[in-house]
Amino acid sequence: MDHTLPGLAADSRAELVRAWSDPPTLKGWICTLDHKAIGRRFVVTALLFFFAGGVLGGLMRHQLSAPGKTLIGPDLYNQVFTMHGTAMMFLFAVPVMQGVALYLVPLMIGTRNTAFPRMSACSYWIYLIGGLTLFAGFASGTGADAGWFAYVPLAGPQYGLGKRSDFWNVLVNFTEAMGLMIAVDLATTTLKMRAPGMSLLRMPLFAWATLVSSIMIIFAMPTVMLGANLVQFDRMAGTHFFNPAEGGDVLLWQHMFWYFGHPEVYFIFVPALGMISAIIPTFARRPMFGHRAIVLSLISTGFLSFGLWVHHMYATNVPELGKSFFTAMSFMIAIPSAVQLFCWIATIAGGRLVPKSPMLFIVGFFATLMIGGLTGIMLGAVPLDLQVTDTYFVVAHLHYVLIGGALFPLFGAVYYWFPKVYGRMLDERLAQWHFWLLAIGFNLTFFPLHVLGLHGMPRRIYTYTADTGWGTLNFVSWVGAMIEDASMFVFVLNIVRALWKGRPAGSDPWGAPTLEWATSSPPAHYNFERIPVVASREPLWSPPAEGPRYVTGLSTRLREGLVTTVLDALPDVRYLYPRPSPWPIVAGFTVALWLIWSIFSNKGMLIGLIPPTIAFIAWYWPTPEETGAELEVEKRP
């Protein structure tokens, strides 16, 4: 199918191409503000961190595959599991979801770029350097070793020796700065940059999920950033926020961490829900059943996820009565997820199935996420949690939730949107191999861990004695991990193969309903030659019957776009997108330098602020060209 809107005249198109393309130099490549290039960079980098984290996970499974193995000693093991958790949560799961959204959302809502592209350009470098700094610490024997949750006092000044926990605390600053910038960019984009006619209720569900998760990030991340910096003050400046001997409180950190940490699970999970909601209607060949219910579910998930952090702390001495409320909240958040599951099942039941690889991963999602969600309900019940918390039961649960709830949909999304991003189809047969190896390997790795937890195996132990009887199941788990590795190999093979000689995709290989399929694959820098006008939830299945089909009157010589109203997406103001500039990149690098310096010196914390300040001022300094451009398009009434 071809839904491309009538094209522009040749000279206008040439102007548009000139206005939006980057100089073909290295500087042009680095300074690009194209949300697609930045989003791609995020996803590729996040996948590399994912593979690094996966290798660390495999090392742990190998070390535990038999009692008393000596491959990894306790010191290294503690660094390995800390790095695994930190890399997967901070350097993979959150950035990959934001990267996908950065790529897709402007296309889905019919605009030329995100609202603040310089911010996302800047944040990529902060993210990359932050991740590399953490791994550099690990490679030089100063890897963080207090767990991805970094509980004090173990991560505090008295017991967290050397610079290890400083690396971790500063990484939190890196990733939160990155996450917040992207979240602000994406929330603004979804609220203000939608194509005319795309009212909130016509906004695609993936864009809704992006909006909800971005707002969650804006509320959750500052808490952990504040907490990590308080720990850093304790470590570097001799404060006593977490020192009970001086009136500090060690549980304060747990509250601050989990007030972020629990929503974090959901701002990984919510974009994945959005991906599923985008994929199912395409392959069921019908609009989503219960679109409105799904929107409300996403929003209520966002709210409820801030009310269950204490279920990570049932074994501490928080008041018993309070714990029961958190049990109720933990159960309640299952309801919006259930509503979405049922709406998806209803959509499939009422549709005509096209059995393709993205759908396969969705079915895998259903089976694994159900198990993870149901064990999650068990963990919400205080008495059960007291038995299984901090055991391998939780390791099993969280991998079922994160791999089932986020990784399966993410792979489905890769198979679904890869043709759009690279213009080539991935191979269906390799996709099947990838899926089945992953499904079998994953379940073999993680299902036995439930049983190990009930048999008393605590988390985060580097070895165990033979008389515990944990050897057999750990061995099975290790075999599963190797099968998972094989599945990742097939995945990479499929991508490389498709890039090399994949079948050309065309603009809309799946017959999908949303706007990203209305432009070429891969899309041009400016996304659409003409900004479309939207009259329904499935713009490609039911385009406007009457009235204009696209926006006219925007400049093709400048990077001009349209800002619309929040609720109804009525045209509001014309907007000049920023032009590429080296300053956001310089700002990113100087912020990174400042943060790295602050690991080692208190002075660096202050003096290091000077270069980013200069860079940020230069970033916002108006240039004659920009002012001239704005004057040029100004129209007097």
Binding site: P74, Y159, R285, F289, A293, M332, A349, Q387, H455
Partner: protein
């Protein structure tokens, strides 16, 4: 052994009951949803094969399905919440009259157990071993000396964290004699893996005999080797960290060794308490438990043997 479902007391039994209820409930929900998904896929596949054109017709039925399934799940959740809260209350109602009071302090990476008594001369300490009477409630007061640890005996109860600056308690009861393993469940640094303790539930009369025995100092060492071992213990560095009641060794940094020979493990679960293992442990604890706070002692073989011989007399 440790198994959360092989309950040896009322607390673990309540939790195991809740486990089975939620397991069956969740299994039912899982099967139900998977069946619904399979049905939807099959129906959708059939519609595609038959090229049916009007899939929207059944939206009323689909709405009934979504609404009904949501109501049913909400009802099940409310039911489960009820059962969970009732279990919570049952756990809180363990009768604690005449309870045995024990104070447990967690250290990196061992456990100090002090059996409390209003009579000061009836207080005694042990380490990495918790002996309790069957049929009598035990109230354990939990304190942490350094970082956060967690007290967990799966066969008896769930966990309770030991938190620096906060004193917590946990109450449980063993209803059958047995030997169970407790482990630290909160990550506490290098040797979190080897921070276990033995829990031994004894019939009341045997417990009373054990407590009397613990209260008394160990027997005088017999034989030249053991005598020399004691000499080494009291004049060397051992007594700086360890205590043996009835002697001048009163160190508090490491485990109390008064009745060391009667314990089944050394190094908080690192290895079984056998003379050979003990000898290796004294010589180089870092080999068996890297990071442990006990330094290595490369003694002349004769001295090492004498020390082991003395420690073996501490029954």
């Amino acid at each position: 052994m440790s198994d959360a479902l092989a309950a040896a007391g009322p607390q673990a039994a309540w939790i195991a009951r809740l486990w089975w209820i939620s397991l069956w409930l969740c299994a039912g929900v899982f099967v139900g949803v998977m069946a619904a998904l399979a049905w939807a896929l099959w129906r959708s596949h059939r519609a595609a094969a038959a090229r049916q054109a009007a899939p929207m017709r059944s939206s009323r039925a689909l709405g009934m399905f979504v609404g009904g399934a949501t109501l049913l799940s909400s009802a099940l959740l409310v039911g489960l919440l009820e059962v969970s809260v009732l279990t919570d209350r049952a756990l809180a109602r363990l009768p604690q009259r005449d309870a045995l009071a024990i104070r447990v302090t967690a250290h990196q990476w061992w456990w100090e157990m002090v059996y409390e008594d209003p009579r000061a001369d009836h207080v005694f300490a042990t380490a990495n071993e918790l002996v309790i009477p069957v049929g009598r409630a035990v109230v354990v007061t939990l304190e942490a000396d350094d970082v956060i640890h967690s007290f967990w005996v799966p066969n008896l109860h769930g966990k309770k964290d030991l938190i620096p600056g906060r004193t917590t308690t946990i109450a449980f009861r063993a209803d059958r004699p047995g030997r169970f393993t407790g482990r630290c469940a909160e990550f506490c640094g290098l040797q979190h893996a080897f921070m276990a303790y033995d829990v031994v539930a004894l019939p009341p009369d045997r417990y009373a005999a054990w407590a009397r025995h613990e209260l008394a100092p160990p027997p005088e060492p017999q034989g030249a080797d053991a005598m020399r071992g004691r000499e080494l213990f009291l004049t060397g560095s051992c007594m700086l960290c360890h205590a043996v009641q009835g002697t001048s060794a009163q160190g508090r940094r490491g485990p109390d060794l008064t009745h060391f020979a009667s314990r089944s493990h050394i190094g908080a679960g690192s290895t079984a308490n056998m003379p050979q293992a003990l000898s290796a442990w004294i010589e180089d604890p870092q080999k068996l438990k890297p990071g442990a706070n006990m330094p290595s002692h490369f003694l002349p073989p004769a001295d090492l043997a004498a020390l082991v011989a003395y420690l073996e007399t501490l029954t």
